[in-house]
């Protein structure tokens, strides 16, 4: 079933079901904006990057000036902190301490399943019409789970590798080429240990490149089928690991550690989910100007990150205005700017006016991806815990 149908279906459902149509949903957008004035939104967002923090601070200034909304950045190290807090508050029947959460993947699944989210609201945001839902289907499907309008897309992510082009002029364009490189340069390649998000993604990428039938990936899987389907994956990892850093017996903890080790010269390659991170790190001086970034020839795992409103949020109107502002061409263009954050937009350039398009000044910067590859959607959520458990079982101790 095409997703647009689901979307329309949901919109009518909203109109018909008194349970879902809260007071806000029935009102016009102007009414929501009016109601939002003077409200404070506590935006619970991972704060590990000064670029991201600065961008949120900029958005707070704009929202205050344009809509009279106070946006407070509640800085998180892990989005699960906010999810657990909302769960406990709802259980205790308390008002929410979080007004908006930066979210995707498992955290979204959990909140959706436990009915901890307000909405659907996202598809009713005026700026949602500009989202590239056809070209970027992950704006509607979050790790193989339909968003159903419970979260509003914010930015795009795709697994990307980077290295110092002076040391690695011909980067490996597939997992098999990576194996060859590791054989030639033993001890100079590493990936973070799952369940670290990037480590798990590296393994998923290897899975996508080694699996006999890729059509299995978007489907739910059980333990027996998983064992069979991942035989080539673990055969590959068994081959690769002896040539990794510390012979694959120890792994870096995080993607950030891999990046640091690359910057120090201990490793040859880094990995990231933000295709523009390498360019951004070049401009902040962490990586040299000779840095190159690439995506594997056959495509790499990609997804979208979103913002969602907890069901017990106090300022739901203002939270929607914030989400809508974050989708505006101006905010999206600024976010995509390599010098600001470099997070790729979710918008469809064809749906923008020429003036709005001109805001996107993206171009060729050192460290930017030259030939973007296609996106391989995240496997169905049921694969992830099985991958993590099997990996831990084999390589964890």
């Amino acid at each position: 079933m095409p997703l647009t149908l689901t979307r329309r279906g949901f919109a009518s459902l909203v109109a018909l079901t008194p349970f879902l149509s809260t007071a806000h949903a029935e009102e016009s957008w102007a009414g929501i904006e009016k109601q939002a004035k003077g409200q404070t939104v506590y935006f619970n967002a991972w704060a590990g990057s000064p670029q991201v923090n600065d961008y949120i601070a900029w958005a707070a200034g704009e929202l205050n000036a344009r809509h009279g909304i106070t946006l407070e950045h509640v800085k998180l190290t892990d989005t699960a902190e906010a999810v657990r807090r909302v769960r406990d508050e709802v259980k205790a029947g308390k008002d929410g301490s979080a007004g908006l959460i930066w979210i995707n993947g498992q955290n979204f699944h959990v909140m959706k399943e436990e009915q901890l989210l307000f909405g659907p609201f996202a598809w009713d945001l005026p700026n949602f019409a500009l989202v590239d839902t056809d070209g970027k289907p992950t704006t509607l499907v979050d790790f193989a789970e339909g968003t159903e309008g419970l979260e509003s897309p914010w930015g795009m992510a795709q697994l990307t590798f980077f290295a110092d082009g002076a040391k690695l002029p011909a980067p490996p364009m597939s997992m098999m080429e990576l194996l060859d490189l590791a054989r030639d340069e033993p001890g100079r390649i590493a990936y973070p240990a799952p369940p670290d998000f990037h480590g798990a993604t590296f393994v998923k990428q290897a899975l996508a490149e080694t699996i006999a039938d890729r059509a299995l990936l978007p489907l739910a899987i059980d333990k027996d089928d998983f064992r069979e389907a991942t035989q080539p994956l673990f055969a590959f990892l068994d081959q690769l690991h002896p040539y990794l850093w510390r012979e694959g017996k120890q792994f870096p903890l995080t993607q950030a550690q891999v990046t640091q080790m690359l910057s120090d010269g201990e490793l040859l390659m880094g990995l990231t989910f933000n295709p523009n991170e390498a360019a951004n790190l070049v401009s902040s001086g962490t990586l040299p100007a000779t840095t190159i970034a690439w995506q594997n020839r056959g495509g790499t795992i990609g997804n979208t990150h979103f913002v969602a409103i907890p069901v017990n949020a106090k300022a739901k109107a203002a939270a929607q205005v914030v989400a809508n502002f974050l989708l505006s061409p101006e905010a999206q263009a600024r976010k995509a700017d390599l010098k600001v954050w470099g997070d790729p937009t979710v918008l469809d350039m064809d749906r923008l006016t020429p003036g709005q398009r001109a805001l996107f000044t993206g171009g060729d910067a050192p460290g930017a991806v030259k030939d973007p590859a296609r996106t391989i959607p995240e496997p169905h959520g049921s694969w992830v815990p099985l991958i993590e458990a099997a990996w831990l079982e084999r390589y964890g101790a």
């Binding site: 704060a47 870096p252 640091q260 080790m261 910057s263 010269g265 201990e266 101790a397």
Partner: protein, 532 residues
């Protein structure tokens, strides 16, 4: 003895500590949680690693401390030892771990100085599978803590005089300085170091941040496995984490119990040997100077490296200095979180010391072990678990997101440290000073304020400084209990560190080290006996 004197401590500290634990117990005793915990492939090797790191670092730190104290007792550098120890104590664990890591890692300073070449050597230093780098760093980092605890006894007004006279007497009986130290100073010293040593062991076996930087990953220390599990969004994983907390706590208690038993057995034979006549044993001065200098050099280098790192967006191997330097990391600092942190931590430290003094003054010494056990529990439990329970308690009471809730959550670890550090010196106070004052018909409160507390100035100030340092490093309460409503210094630092930008992490680690450094230096300076 006024029984009511215990009430404030029980109400403000013991209750917010114990009630949440009771609330967590059902989840920790859940059968499915235990099944998951026991099926976890990393459980046993991770537990072994944790206990090993705790034991090795404690023994290492103790050996270093005793060598330094024995070798330098009443030497020329004795007076500066306290200030040095205080400065070392102020360094946050994470800051030291980063600096130390950069010294010994394959692309670190040592390799750059002595190996060189195009690419770093493939050393197994940081993240070694046996956790030796972690243990060594822990031992070095705990050395200032144990030194401070030992010095608190040796420079305490009443005890210092007594010990000095006893040493003189021992010398006149033919004891060489080493022999006199062993027989006169060591016994009361070890007695006072007992609880600090337990803290060091428990800390080493449960530390997360240092283990993340220096420890292995396959398997990691059990505290790291627990930290991941408690952080997980899946309640089943949280339950597994709590079961592991229970297991780790039980293992720690078991180890401590066995050690206590062995020591009791060993006491008599040891005592017989120490009671033997004078020996020509000299003080290990040369060794103490050597080890002390080495430890100091490592601490200084680690901090110097941290300063350089905070200005270096990039520092590739094998350059001895960063190719470019900028202040970008330092520009991210803002003043507001600093004021929040200072106010909160000063209040928490002062309250904790007041509560502790009230307890010691009104309660029989026999009850201390009960309080100390509770304090140890507060320190041994991972904060995600204890603060998580506190959060569950505070939520229905409307205390989450409030300053008072945040203050109570800070008081939990702060009062625990203060009680443990203060118990030894406070209880060992020679009561005859107060008795003499009372005999001169001075009121009890005046005797306390004008005689006892001034004589106990050094340990009181040290305890307050430790409490302050503990409080200012707290991250979890501000995140969890206060729902991120009050931006504290560690909130800024820890969230930014999550992104792994080393320059930023270094800059914030240094910023976090500064207030405690000032506090410890002030305590060391103000705490000096007036007659010297």
């Amino acid at each position: 003895m006024n029984r009511l004197g215990a009430a404030p401590l029980l109400l403000l500290w013991a209750l917010p500590l114990l009630a949440p634990l009771a609330m967590l117990l059902p989840a920790a005793l859940d059968g499915e949680a235990w099944r998951m915990a026991l099926a976890h492939p990393q459980l046993w090797p991770a537990l072994a690693l944790s206990l090993g790191a705790g034991a090795v670092s404690t023994l290492g730190a103790l050996a270093l401390t005793l060598t330094l104290l024995a070798g330098l007792y009443r030497s020329r550098v004795w007076d500066s030892l306290q200030a040095l120890a205080a400065s070392g104590l102020a360094i946050p664990h994470l800051a030291f771990a980063i600096g130390f890591g950069f010294l010994v890692m394959p692309s670190g300073l040592l390799a750059r100085l002595f190996i060189g070449g195009e690419a770093p050597p493939q050393w197994v230093s940081v993240q070694d599978p046996w956790g030796l780098t972690l243990s060594l760093a822990l031992a070095l980092k705990e050395l200032p803590f144990l030194l401070t605890a030992g010095l608190a006894l040796l420079s305490r007004g009443d005890a210092a005089l007594q010990l000095r006279q006893a040493c003189r007497a021992a010398a006149s009986l033919g004891h060489a300085p080493g022999s006199a130290f062993l027989r006169v100073v060591l016994p009361p010293l070890l007695k006072d170091l007992c609880w600090p040593l337990i803290i060091v062991f428990v800390y080493g076996a449960t530390v997360v941040d240092m283990a993340l930087v220096l420890g292995p990953t396959q398997p990691p220390a059990l505290a790291v496995v627990i930290w991941h599990a408690l952080n997980d969004v899946d309640p089943a994983m949280n339950g597994m984490g709590l079961a592991m907390v229970l297991l780790l706590t039980a293992a720690l208690a078991l180890v401590l119990g066995v050690v206590a038993l062995l020591l009791r057995r060993a006491r008599d034979p040891l005592h017989r040997r120490l009671a033997a006549g004078p020996s020509p044993l000299s003080a290990p001065r040369g060794l103490a100077v050597l080890l002390g200098a080495a430890a100091l050099l490592i601490l200084l280098l680690a901090m110097a490296v941290l300063v350089i790192l905070s200005f270096a967006p990039r520092w590739p191997y094998p350059a001895l200095l960063p190719p470019v330097a900028d202040g970008a990391a330092w520009m991210k600092m803002t003043a507001a979180p600093l004021w929040v942190s200072l106010t909160l931590s000063l209040t928490a430290a002062a309250t904790a010391v007041a509560l502790a003094v009230l307890w010691f003054e009104t309660q029989a010494p026999a009850r201390d072990s009960w309080v100390n056990g509770l304090a140890l529990l507060a320190l041994a439990l991972p904060q995600l678990a204890s603060a998580g329970g506190q959060y569950k308690l505070f939520l229905p009471l409307g205390l989450t997101g409030t300053v008072f809730g945040l203050f109570l959550a800070h008081l939990t670890p702060v009062a625990a440290y203060v009680l443990i550090v203060l118990a030894g010196p406070y209880r060992a106070f020679d009561g005859r000073y107060v008795a003499a004052a009372r005999a001169l018909s001075v009121s009890r409160i005046r005797a306390l304020l004008t005689v006892k507390l001034p004589l106990l100035k050094a340990p009181l100030l040290t305890a307050a400084a430790i409490g302050f340092a503990v409080s200012i490093a707290q991250y979890v309460p501000a995140q969890l209990i206060a729902a991120g409503r009050f931006s504290t210094l560690p909130m800024e630092a820890v969230t930014l560190a999550a992104g792994g930008n080393r320059a930023l992490t270094a800059a914030f680690a240094l910023a976090l080290a500064t207030p405690p450094l000032l506090a410890f230096l002030a305590a060391a300076m103000l705490g000096r006996p007036r007659w010297r």
